[in-house]
């Protein structure tokens, strides 16, 4: 059994727990898994093809809003399918990157602790430092905000962000140039802005000139930190021009995919679905083929039992030859298979017929020890019932009315209300309790 079962709750322990909502909305409301072959109902809700087909063959209503719907009105929801495959492609990596990194945090904290002690040792004049502190804090904050603004090189920055912040604060307060030189270089080279200097003027006149020099050097000869690898062509690009370059790359790529060379799109913009198709045993059906292959549901009362058997035999589905199984059982099995078959046509990776027959068998075996539960809410059954027995019901009500008026005439009305209440009790047919908060999880 695969231990790595993806679940929306996986996101709860990451730094963005709200991704749970995104993950949940990519799941089918019926089976709670990611949509397989998502289909759109006529009321605009989406379910797995098999889930909604099974549901509609027991209740002809949308599971979410209870609007009447029919199986032949279902339409494919392609964009959801693409969304899921794109999401699943990055899901694992996203989980890894967003997982809280305990080791990193502890090392950086230790780092800053050391700096703090150093700062305490060195900062003997004390008074100056204290007066200046809130000011530097403010400026630092402002600067931080500024640093977060440019979107380029975000991935590199985020990983070293914490480390850098701690080193800078320590370097401002202390004059430990030697130990911090390496870090400082990184900071200044990647920032490249100038509102850093005034801070140093106040506390650190000595390192100011050094830093200025270093900054100039960095500006003139950009080192490895200033290079960004283009995600499309993988060539290192200058940070300042990378946006322009990426745009060019995208243009090139789109032109290439239109051209008859049939080069696969570079970043999987269209999802992995079309590219994976060639590896499959059997190519996905075209729309015309699908329409031809779809099996109509038929009608139980219009179908003869012998015909059901013939069909089951035709599809290679087992049935009791001696005729012990009732027409209902045979019909249910046929319907089950048709659901599997029609849902399979919507799938990107269709299975072979014999695999479907095997699935059908496994499903029936798993349900064997449990009796199928009684269907409680088939509207038409209720209608048929009320039509059939409508007259007898009417006469019964008339009788009841007569006897109750007689009773009232005979006896006084004392205690009548409680008697009526208890007589209702064993009849749980009127289920009208309105309940709030059903939809909210």
């Amino acid at each position: 059994m695969d231990i790595d079962i993806p679940d929306p709750t996986d996101w709860l322990k990451t730094s963005i727990p709200n991704l749970q909502a995104l993950d949940t909305s990519l799941g089918c409301g019926v089976c709670k898994e990611y949509f397989t072959a998502p289909m759109l109902t006529s009321c605009g809700h989406t379910f797995c093809s098999l889930c909604i087909r099974r549901h509609l063959s027991s209740v002809q209503k949308c599971p979410t809003c209870r609007q009447p719907d029919e199986e032949n009105k279902l339409r494919k929801n392609t964009i959801i399918e693409e969304l899921i495959s794109a999401f699943l492609n990055v899901r694992k990596e996203m989980l890894e990157r967003l997982a809280p990194k305990i080791e990193d945090e502890s090392t950086s904290r230790r780092d800053s602790d050391i700096d703090m002690t150093r700062a305490e040792k060195r900062g003997s004049p004390g008074a100056d430092d204290g007066a200046e502190d809130p000011d530097t804090m403010d400026r630092r904050r402002g600067k931080r905000r500024k640093r977060e603004e440019p979107p380029n090189g975000a991935s590199q920055e985020s990983s070293t962000d914490r480390l850098r912040r701690s080193t800078r604060s320590s370097s401002q307060r202390t004059n430990s140039r030697l130990s911090n030189q390496a870090h400082d270089q990184i900071v200044d080279a990647s920032d490249g802005d100038d509102d850093f200097t005034p801070l140093d003027d106040a506390s650190d006149y000595e390192s100011d000139s050094n830093r200025g020099k270093r900054r100039k050097q960095a500006a003139r000869t950009p080192d490895a930190e200033d290079k960004v690898v283009c995600p499309l062509c993988f060539k290192p690009q200058d940070r300042s021009t990378v946006d322009v370059h990426v745009n060019q790359c995208i243009d090139l790529a789109s032109r290439a995919s239109v051209s008859p060379q049939k080069k696969p799109p570079p970043l999987g913009f269209r999802g992995p679905a079309p590219s994976g198709a060639s590896n499959r045993q059997r190519p996905p059906y075209t729309d015309e083929e699908k329409a031809q292959l779809r099996i109509p549901k038929g009608n139980l009362s219009l179908t003869k039992e012998a015909d059901i058997r013939k069909k089951l035999k035709g599809y290679g589905i087992r049935y009791d030859v001696s005729g012990k199984e009732s027409k209902q059982v045979l019909w249910a099995r046929l319907q089950d298979f048709i659901n599997l078959w029609n849902a399979n046509l919507d799938s990107l990776t269709p299975k072979l017929q014999r695999e479907l027959v095997r699935d059908l068998d496994a499903r029936e075996r798993s349900q064997m020890n449990q009796k199928p539960s009684v269907v409680q809410d088939k509207e038409f059954e209720r209608d048929v019932w009320s039509k059939k027995y409508g007259t007898s019901f009417a006469s019964l009500t008339a009788n009841a009315r007569q006897s109750s008026t007689k009773k009232e005439n005979v006896s006084t009305s004392a205690g009548g209300s409680s008697a009526a209440a208890t007589s209702q009790a064993p009849e749980p047919t009127m289920m009208t309790a309105e309940v709030n908060g059903i939809g909210s999880p």
Binding site: T9, V59, Q376, M431, P441
Partner: protein, 165 residues
């Protein structure tokens, strides 16, 4: 996921896990990982996912405040197309619950939908405790006393609650 791996039952004989079991495992995961306040549920036996026990804390500001109620869930083989059978195990005194613990709630009968799950049932029941439907009572006495005689209602509820063993 380690949480589910520990509690996940072995697949039934004959091959893959069934749809019912799979779906119930998902629900268990959700209940364990992101629990809603005041409700909980867990399978009775890890080898049979079709029987669960749930608990509801009585909502604040109602007769049931401070009390905990246990319920049994029995899932049909075609869950979630069909609703589970839910019964109060803790003795209950409520207009829409009979003396055997059976519940009169539309979403457990004809208003059931396959998109509901255990937590939505428990939340509905929790709100049913505070807002009963006195128009179609299963327990006529409770329905009458609910509005007319709160003191007597409280006394009978306490008495029923003590019957728990």
């Amino acid at each position: 996921m380690s949480a589910s791996a520990a509690t996940a039952p072995t697949a039934p004989a004959g091959g893959s896990t069934t749809n019912v079991t799979k779906r119930l495992q998902k629900e268990l995961m959700k209940l364990v990982m992101s629990p809603s306040p005041g409700i909980s549920a867990f399978p009775d036996d890890p080898s049979n996912m079709l029987k669960w026990t749930g608990t509801i804390n009585g909502p604040e500001g109602t007769y049931f405040e401070g009390k905990t109620f246990k319920l049994s869930f029995t899932f049909p083989a075609d869950y979630p197309l069909q609703p589970p059978t839910v019964i109060f195990k803790t003795p209950m005194f409520h207009p829409n619950v009979d003396m055997a613990g059976r519940i009169c709630l539309d979403i457990l009968k004809d208003k059931w939908s396959a998109v509901y799950d255990i937590s939505s049932i428990l939340l509905s029941l929790q709100s049913l405790l505070g807002e009963p439907n006195n128009k179609s009572p299963l327990n006529g006495q409770a329905a009458q006393l609910w509005d007319e005689d709160p003191k007597e209602y409280r006394r009978l509820l306490e008495k029923r609650h003590q019957e728990e063993d």
